[in-house]
């Protein structure tokens, strides 16, 4: 709160300190800054880089310019067009996100290049569609905002839009959706396995950034009185990326600082210093590679001045919608082939609804692949996988998770740059939070009886502000296991949960597994190499070999089986 009031105060007094000329300039830069905050959201939070953000700024500017001209005599109608124009930009961004992310989940180079291409296309349309856009010379004679003609009014309108965008961004960053954006950038696969539709979450981020650029663009038209193709041009798109980077893309205020500082310096120096823009480009590369936190990073030591100390009261989470009575997991004739290679060969397995089951087999037997087909990450070429009678073949990982399947990966897979508390919160949201609730910041304080029990067993899980990356390997294993348990799954898949752990840590994991089996009442399926662990835990052991089931039975039965001995001792099959 203190930070917010400080920002508002600065915004209000700035024109008195700097004078009319700068007030006018800053009124314009405030609108650009609104768009730059959106670039910061995509790049600094959600981890994908839009290179054509001016598309949404310019589209909205043209729409609002056209509306202001069309409703010249009806200023109230024209003002109503402002949010409408911004909304069109937001929806377009969301739609582009859905189209590009949906098929491939691609958020790297392909996404960036397509946004760049769309921006160039928009520029071409803007310059060539004379009858609507006014072509190269632009849309001229746009009436101003009604009742605001003073230069300081222009500034305050820009500042108000920027503050609104910052308030919106500050809110979503504090809400679960903001945490999910960060999680997405760090470990997309883990998020999918927790049941989140990551492509939709990414599209929402891009849509939100489109809204921010759209709000800036909508006000730009009446403020400047003219919209030229430069407003959708590549140059502005590039500037927005530079401003966000220089100011600090991961920070809420960073892109604003970058826009104001670089924008006003450029306006001053472009003409007097011939190599200014070359210097800026070099500066950008250095910032990106060496100071990813930008200017905001240098101000970080001061952040404690603004931090408010509040006790985080916990809120009870509702029951998981994925929580259903335990069910049998049945694989029937599952085949997976990649090229010539057979990974799973008509594999049929049948797991009881409750109990601890171990899957063993030599390297390459298909154990992890079996987990991958069950969790929906690997497509089964043939056969069915039924969980309580529902066939999960063909469902994406997030839908399988929704049916009550949780998974712990072999190498600890957490969200390293998030706090332990946020890591655990994401697991709690899985299957419990509705889409609308993802906008409610109080969800970050959710807790559940299971979480409280886990926290009393492992006190480090209660140290909320530490980052997951600071934990030891063993602690990360336990954190990920705890996260998987918090979803209260019907079927829990554990891939070598004790790999790389000390004997004490191994003991802790075994204890937690036994406890979880009782507590959840469902099936826990463990891939394990260590026979001493298997002996301790397994009720039934399944031996896989060459992608198919070789034997099943109790530990004693398996050890006596001549086929199993042949495979392990290295005799002929």
């Amino acid at each position: 709160m203190r930070a917010a009031s400080l920002v508002v105060l600065i915004a209000v007094v700035l024109p008195f300190v700097l004078g009319q000329f700068w007030a006018y300039q800053l009124g314009l830069y405030a609108l650009y800054a609104a768009a730059a905050v959106g670039v910061g959201l995509c790049w600094g939070r959600a981890g994908f880089l839009p290179l054509g953000q001016s598309l949404f700024f310019g589209l909205s500017a043209y729409l609002s310019g056209l509306a202001f001209i069309a409703f010249q005599g009806h200023p109230v109608v024209a003002v109503l067009a402002l949010p409408f124009a911004a909304l069109v930009s937001a929806l377009l961004a969301y739609a582009i996100g859905v189209v590009v992310f949906r098929r491939t989940g691609e958020s790297g180079a392909y996404f960036s290049m397509i946004t760049l291409a769309l921006c160039l296309l928009a520029f071409q349309i803007a310059t060539s569609w004379n009858s609507v856009t006014g072509g190269f010379n632009g849309l001229k004679g746009i009436p101003g905002l009604p009742g605001l003609d003073d230069i300081s009014d222009v500034y305050y309108v820009g500042a108000a839009i920027l503050l609104a965008v910052l308030a919106f961004a500050g809110w979503v960053y504090a809400a679960p959706i903001g945490v999910l954006w960060q999680a997405l950038a760090q470990n997309e696969r883990r998020l999918q396995l927790f049941g989140f539709d990551t492509n939709q979450i990414k599209s929402l981020a891009f849509g939100a950034s489109g809204l921010m650029a759209g709000l800036g663009g909508a006000v730009y038209a009446p403020q400047q009185g003219i919209v030229t193709p430069q407003a959708v041009g590549f140059g502005l798109s590039a500037d927005l990326v530079i401003w966000a980077a220089v100011g600090g893309r991961g920070n809420l205020i960073g892109p604003v600082v970058g826009t104001m500082v670089v924008g006003s310096l450029t306006a001053q120096l472009r003409d007097t210093l011939p190599f200014w823009e070359v210097l800026m480009a070099v500066f950008f590369i250095v910032i990106v590679l060496m100071f990813p936190k930008g200017i905001a990073g240098f101000a970080e030591p001061l952040a404690w001045l603004l931090r408010s100390q509040r006790d985080r009261l916990v809120v009870a989470a509702p029951k998981s919608t994925a929580a259903r009575p335990p069910a049998r997991l049945v694989l029937d004739g599952v085949g997976v082939h990649v090229g010539e290679v057979t990974i799973l060969d008509r594999l049929s397995l049948d797991f009881d609804a409750a109990g601890i089951f171990c899957v063993i087999g030599p390297n390459g037997a298909g154990k992890t692949s079996m987990f991958n087909v069950v969790s929906g990450e690997l497509a089964a070429g043939s056969g069915t996988i039924a969980l309580g009678g529902v066939n999960v073949v063909g469902l994406p990982p997030n839908r399988v998770s929704g049916l009550g399947v949780a998974r712990k990966l072999q190498i600890p897979s957490v969200f390293p740059e998030l706090t332990i508390a946020d890591n655990l919160a994401i697991a709690l949201w899985s299957g419990r939070a509705t889409k609308l609730q993802l906008l409610a910041p109080r969800l970050r304080r959710w807790t559940s009886p299971m979480l409280q029990e886990l926290q009393s067993r492992y006190p480090f899980l209660a140290s909320g502000t530490r980052k997951a990356a600071e934990l030891s390997h063993g602690e990360q294993q336990i954190l990920e296991l705890a996260m998987a348990l918090l979803t209260e799954p019907r079927v829990l898949l554990l891939d070598e949960p004790c790999a790389g752990l000390s004997p004490e840590e191994t003991g802790a994991v075994m204890e937690i597994v036994r406890w979880a089996a009782k507590r959840l009442g469902g099936a826990i399926i463990i891939i394990e190499h260590d026979m001493s662990l298997v002996k301790e835990l397994a009720e039934v052991v399944y031996v896989l070999h060459n992608g198919t089931l070789l034997a099943r039975g109790s530990v004693a039965e398996i050890q006596a089986d001549p086929n199993v001995r042949a495979v392990y001792v290295g005799g002929e099959k």
């Binding site: 880089l49 790297g108 180079a109 392909y110 291409a117 823009e277 590679l289």
Partner: protein, 284 residues
């Protein structure tokens, strides 16, 4: 045969073959090193400016080739050392870095040559009779050069020791290193081949387009579309991508206007990303 159709057919052939050369450098760097060099188009621009400088000094046009290769080669070496090599296997950082590089190269060109357009005279003016129609000689020569460049690179890659070392590096860098192959220099060399190919493409097209700082954007996007449609990792993919993108673009542009042609290839590329994310000819 109808002369107009012959002209159009050669136009399509010209568009496809030059596009293949312009995409080749991007494909080499992306396919072999996994680095999407957004500044690829700026190396094309540098080639075009080199051609302009060559001509305005009164040197023979062919002198632009070694000139460009020297400039793009040295620049490629410096860039690879400063920002590509430290970022291998960090594709997102490389993306941002090469985007910054493209910005830098554009601004440098702007600072030296200004924002204005330059035109380069066609080194081989005149036309030839061709199936009952007149066609510019220079374009026919470009088609031949394009075919020669692509073919010789493919033959060299497939047949030489260096080619097989590169293949070893791509499939397993650690093992290649252990076999005594200097992966470090091989990767640098591969990057330089890519930037030099871009520069060469710039010299080729310079007489036919306005030379200006922003010209590279268009080339890198078109080359990128070729890679999306064709898929990475094979020559047949590159060629089929060039045929689809170049052919579609030139036919639709000729029938309507350039913006429509551009829109069509963009939509086509997005469709491919959806329906065949690994391109027409997918490897493996």
């Amino acid at each position: 045969m109808d002369p107009l159709i012959v002209t159009q057919a050669i136009n399509v052939l010209y568009a496809v073959s030059t596009l293949a050369v312009l995409a080749l450098g991007l494909a080499v760097i992306f396919g072999l090193l996994g680095v999407l060099n957004i500044a690829h188009g700026e190396f094309v621009m540098i080639g075009a400016y080199c051609a302009y400088v060559t001509q305005s000094n009164g040197w023979p046009y062919l002198a632009a080739v070694p000139f460009t290769l020297a400039v793009c080669g040295l620049l490629g070496l410096a860039v690879e050392w400063a920002m590509i090599q430290p970022l291998y296997r960090r594709p997102f950082d490389t993306l941002v870095a090469t985007w910054g590089l493209s910005l830098l190269l554009r601004k440098i060109a702007e600072a030296i040559f200004g924002l204005g357009f330059y035109s380069v005279n066609i080194p081989l003016p005149g036309t030839v009779q061709f199936f009952g129609t007149e066609y510019p000689v220079y374009r026919l020569v470009l088609i031949a050069i394009s075919v020669a460049v692509v073919a010789s690179l493919v033959l060299w890659y497939g047949g030489s020791r260096t080619g097989s070392r590169i293949r070893a590096m791509v499939s397993n860098p650690e093992l290649a290193q252990a076999q005594g192959i200097s992966v470090r220099w091989l990767a640098a060399g591969t990057f330089i081949v890519g930037t030099c190919l871009a520069g060469l493409g710039g010299v080729m097209v310079a007489p036919l387009v306005p030379v200006q700082p922003f010209m590279g954007l268009d080339y890198v996007l078109r080359a990128f579309f070729v890679l999306i449609v064709g898929g990475l990792g094979s020559v047949s993919g590159l060629l089929s991508g060039a045929v689809v993108i170049g052919g579609f673009d030139s036919v639709i542009s000729a029938a309507t206007n350039a913006a429509n042609g551009y829109f069509a290839v963009l939509v086509l590329s997005i469709l491919f990303l959806w329906l065949r994310p690994r391109g027409i000819i997918a490897r493996g």
